[in-house]
């Protein structure tokens, strides 16, 4: 199949970018979206033009590196998959495809389709971990984990941090990411001791960079892992509880 690609080209951060149109000839319907871009880049290399820069790593939907806006849909038209798992059979011969980087003030474009997602790292630093003592491995099953919380936590933990939620959100809010990253720990016994500190620190770090949730639900639809916005509600509750239950110094003179 032959395709016409309209792609955002920007040489480096803080420089004006523009859309350029490229023709992709003889694209196999079996090719993945990134393989299609690889082939276009092969041709650009041959002509001496700078290849299109895009992020990618595992190419099996678990790393969260890839992710572009394809015809106005984050990760393209197929629901529940990252860009790397989108295949060209989802498109028709002769289609024109617009490929853009994620857009948000917090995510400046570094080059072409690559954006700087460092604010996600700042959110993780604030509390996306649990504190444990190192040493010998603890006995298996020494902490009882209820089945329901293991299941919910696992759903939240499937977040790969691709930032499609921010790209999809009309407010550029990162609530789905932050909710997934707080709740996959807050739902488990191992995460409970730091639950409210985590919620407060991660939410307030998030708010320094991103907009606020207006419950549109676009993030949920865009998420390649189909993470539910129910986790946002749980995070909201934990954040408000963190205001009411600051445990520090209670009962102390």
């Amino acid at each position: 199949m032959d395709l016409s690609l309209k792609i955002w080209r920007q040489a480096r951060a803080n420089e004006e970018g523009e859309f350029k149109t490229y023709q992709a000839k003889n694209v196999s319907p079996e090719a993945s979206f990134l393989e299609m871009l690889d082939e276009v880049n092969e041709e650009l290399n041959a002509t001496g033009e700078d290849p299109i820069a895009f992020e990618h790593d595992c190419r099996e939907g678990i790393c969260g590196a890839c992710g572009v806006m394809i015809n106005g849909s984050p990760h393209g038209p197929q629901s529940g998959t990252a860009t790397c798992q989108l295949h060209m059979r989802k498109f028709e011969d002769g289609d024109s495809i617009t490929i853009e980087p994620w857009r948000a003030t917090a995510f400046p474009v570094l080059k072409d389709l690559i954006v700087d997602r460092a604010p996600f790292d700042r959110i993780m630093e604030a509390g996306g971990y649990i504190s444990v003592n190192t040493g010998a491995a603890p006995d298996a099953n020494i902490i009882a984990v209820p089945k329901w919380s293991a299941e919910s936590a696992m759903d939240a933990a499937s977040c790969i941090g691709c930032a499609a939620c921010v790209a999809a959100c009309p407010n550029s809010a990162a609530n789905l990411f932050t909710a997934a990253k707080t709740q996959h720990l807050n739902l488990l016994p191992q995460g409970k001791p730091e639950r409210y500190l985590r919620a407060a620190a991660m939410v307030e770090t998030m708010e320094q960079y991103f907009g606020s949730c207006t419950n549109y639900g676009e993030c949920e639809k865009a998420c390649p892992k189909n993470i539910s916005i129910d986790f946002i509600a749980m995070m909201n509750k934990d954040y408000v509880r963190a205001q009411f239950f600051n445990m520090a110094r209670q009962g102390q003179k």
Binding site: K6, W8, F19, M69, N71, G72, S73, P77, T98, E100, R103, A104, T105, A106, P119, R122, I123, E125, A126, G127, P170, N171, S172, N175, E194, L197, A200, A201, V203, E204, T205, E207, Q208, Y209, G211, S212, C213, T214, N215, Y216, G217, E218, E220, K221, A222, I229, D230, I232, A233, M234, M235, N236, K237, Y239, V240, A242, Q243, N246, A248, R249
Partner: protein, 247 residues
Amino acid sequence: MTTTTRAEVEARQGWRSWLGGFFSSSVGLKWLMALTGFGLLLYVLVHMIGNLKVFLGTDAAGEYHIDLYGEALRNLGGDLVPHESILWLFRIGLLALFGIHIYAAWVLTLRNRSARGKERYEHKRNYEAVNYANRTMRWGGVLVLLFVLFHIADLTVGWANPDFVEGAVHDNLVASLSQPIVAIFYLAAQVALAFHIYHGAWSLWQSLGIVNPRYKAFRRYFAVAFAATVFIGNTAIIVAVWSGYIS
């Protein structure tokens, strides 16, 4: 912009930082918006139910039931308290609810605009979850606010109503709504209010974090039922007066 550390959170003490958590954080503001929104929902429902008294007509003494209802509101608390005092407490409370709700909307809208930035997607966004109700929350909310201001000027203080007589609720209502232009504005405001409630009455549970599977399905039913009830009740009055059923 830096990371807010857990040590910083833990070090906070006192009520100022407590209040700050609600009034400075976006999640806190949304929580306040949900709570005040819930209060305003209750008000809108009670207001609608009370106004349906216009359909009861007159009592044996020839007094309109809705006029008596208005007098009862002014006389809340009876002889225990000064006349209209309880009513004024309610009014102050309502004003606070409106104030916090609008303040939160204003602050969050500005934050969202700046988080979104100047760059727009070239290709039209393929929205899947966004609908008319949630996309019009901001402008629909402004329309509802303008309506409320006009409504107060029209039927509470009478500035916008040349035939206004204090206490004659029924006659004021008929004088106002029998003008087609006013009736159309009231109807348009009811449509805007219904959409605003339809999203708000669902969204508030999300902002408050009430999402347990036990009652999760109830949230959507609640929003639909609430929006429909308020819309049908209020438009019934407008249509009844406009069509001459109530005169």
